[in-house]
């Protein structure tokens, strides 16, 4: 199997004033290219630590993470990060928010990338809101803007840290669907961290269940719903079976 994202004997300790905490213990798994993988686990098990390590914001104590057979560096440009909240800058318009990363990387005068950004806006129904301020948009739209802000930098791997947890349930189902479609149509590999089993189940091709601290891989599941959308998956007869399987492994 071609492995795109690869975790090799990954361990991580972090330091606090009181003690040293063993957060991750010998984690091994791989994610295929263009797959959507989710990490679920009991709260406080180190899911977000996993993402920070994958994003290169933290360095592993032991072991390594390979992306396309190359070790992930500090602030790796191949990686895009989506946070729990959209973190749109209120003083910038939607367009200015979207090109924030381009500005930082001094690519905001490059015609081709700007065209790409405009295309994304048009494709995902946000073009008419280009000059609006974030507070004029609904929660779901804001989260879509946040995703596009990440996509314009053209990352090969997308990291999602419970990106829907700040939304109400109705919006959440819709945005879940939208984000899934966008990620699939842009052919990105994605790694989602969540505590919501049905969310993981409706989005993923692969689910990694972590044990409680020090976290290790408790179980790995391949999910196959034959190309259904997240909303359709939720209604599939197998959904309940998978759900129970994951739930039993979590508790």
């Amino acid at each position: 199997m071609e492995s795109f994202l690869q975790y090799k004997n990954l361990s991580y300790f972090y330091q606090t004033k009181e003690s040293e905490i063993h957060a991750l213990n010998n984690i091994n798994f791989v994610v295929k290219q263009k797959d959507f993988a989710s990490i679920v686990g009991p709260s406080g098990c180190g899911k977000t630590t996993m993402l920070s390590l994958t994003a290169g914001l933290l360095q592993p104590t032991d072991g390594e993470i390979l992306l396309n057979n190359k070790k992930i560096e500090k602030n790796d440009s191949r990686i895009g990060y989506m946070f729990q909240r959209d973190h749109l800058f209120e003083w910038r318009t939607i367009w200015q928010n979207i090109i924030l990363g381009l500005e930082i990387q001094k690519k905001h005068k490059d015609e081709k990338t700007l065209c790409f950004a405009e295309e994304l806006l048009k494709k995902y129904d946000l073009y008419n809101f280009k000059n609006k301020k974030p507070r004029q948009l609904s929660g779901g739209m804001r989260q879509r803007v946040a995703l596009i802000r990440t996509l314009v930098l053209n990352p090969t791997l997308l990291l999602l840290d419970e990106p829907f947890s700040a939304l109400d349930f109705q919006t959440r189902l819709k945005v879940c669907d939208d984000v899934y479609q966008i990620i699939k149509s842009e052919e990105k590999t994605a790694l989602l961290v969540t505590h919501d089993i049905s969310e993981a189940l409706s989005m993923s091709d692969q689910i990694i269940i972590l044990s409680s601290r020090p976290a290790s891989v408790k179980k790995e599941l391949k999910i196959n719903f034959q190309g259904k959308t997240p909303l359709e998956k939720r209604e599939d007869k197998d959904f309940g079976k998978y759900f129970e399987l994951i739930w039993r492994n979590l508790s």
Partner: protein, 268 residues
């Protein structure tokens, strides 16, 4: 006002009318308060119920202002105070923001300076007055230094708080897009602190007048603070009161010059 042509429903028109009436009532009572206050003052001093020698009266204040204006000194005093206040205000605000940026930039420096900032903040700056006079000499310079000292520490502390209260995830977001520290400062920290900056401006308008008047009390040859001091020593309460009225006008005017910024930026 184009949108007035839209036909509102009856209930909406009623609601708008209610808002308008409420506004008129407020303005009416504001006028009643000032007219009543001045009228009562004039009446009481005119009938001798209060001694106009100690309490002055509105008419005597107006007379004094006209007289001071005619001798020409009035404008010198007003200009001196205004000039000291604006200069002190600008120096303190700019310097304070720069120092706050420096302290934000270096966490170590911030931690080292923290206790000193706290002590400087709680120290009554007027206590430094005699030293200031010895070091910069009496007059305009000393007053400006006093004004700066009073505004500076509070500016540093408020702005630093605004800078470090920025959401950590937003900083992480910037970092995940490879922003360097300059970019984090200019694209996130500074715009994020804009509304706090405007609050600081408003506070500093008040504080810089405190500084100027205190500085002029300590040592000066001109200014409204000097005039107040002079008036009270000469037992000419008319001059004292007239100066206070003029001070109210200048300070209020400066405040209203800052408030459009607030309207423009605070909402976003």
């Amino acid at each position: 006002m184009k949108h007035k042509q839209i036909n509102y429903s009856k209930t909406h028109a009623k609601y708008l009318k209610k808002l308008k009436t409420e506004k008129i009532i407020i303005i009416f009572w504001q006028i009643v308060v000032i007219v009543g206050f001045l009228g009562l003052w004039e009446l009481l001093s005119g009938t001798g119920a209060i001694d106009p020698f100690f309490f002055s009266s509105p008419s005597r204040i107006v007379q004094t202002i006209i007289e001071l204006g005619r001798t020409g000194n009035l404008f010198i005093h007003m200009w001196t105070s205004l000039y000291e206040t604006i200069l002190g205000f600008l120096i303190a605000t700019i310097l304070g923001v720069l120092i706050a940026i420096l302290l934000w930039w270096s966490e170590r420096l911030r931690k080292v300076m923290e206790p000193y900032l706290i002590i400087l903040n709680s120290l009554p700056k007027i206590a430094l007055g005699p030293m200031i006079i010895l070091w910069v000499g009496s007059g305009t310079g000393a007053t400006i230094v006093m004004c700066v000292l009073i505004c500076l520490v509070i500016t540093i502390i408020s702005m630093l708080n605004a800078f470090i209260s920025c959401d950590n995830d937003k900083i992480l977001l910037m970092k995940s897009m490879h922003a360097n520290k300059f970019q984090i400062l200019f694209k996130l920290i500074l715009p994020n602190a804009l509304s706090d900056f405007i609050s600081v401006l408003k506070i500093n308008v008040g504080m810089s007048w405190v500084g100027t008047i205190m500085g002029e009390y300590l040592s000066s040859k001109a200014g409204l603070g000097y005039l107040i001091n002079y008036g009270s020593q000469m037992l000419q309460l008319d001059i004292v009161m007239a100066s206070i009225v003029l001070l109210c006008i200048l300070a209020g005017g400066m405040y209203f010059m800052v408030s459009p910024f607030e309207k423009k930026y605070k909402r976003s």
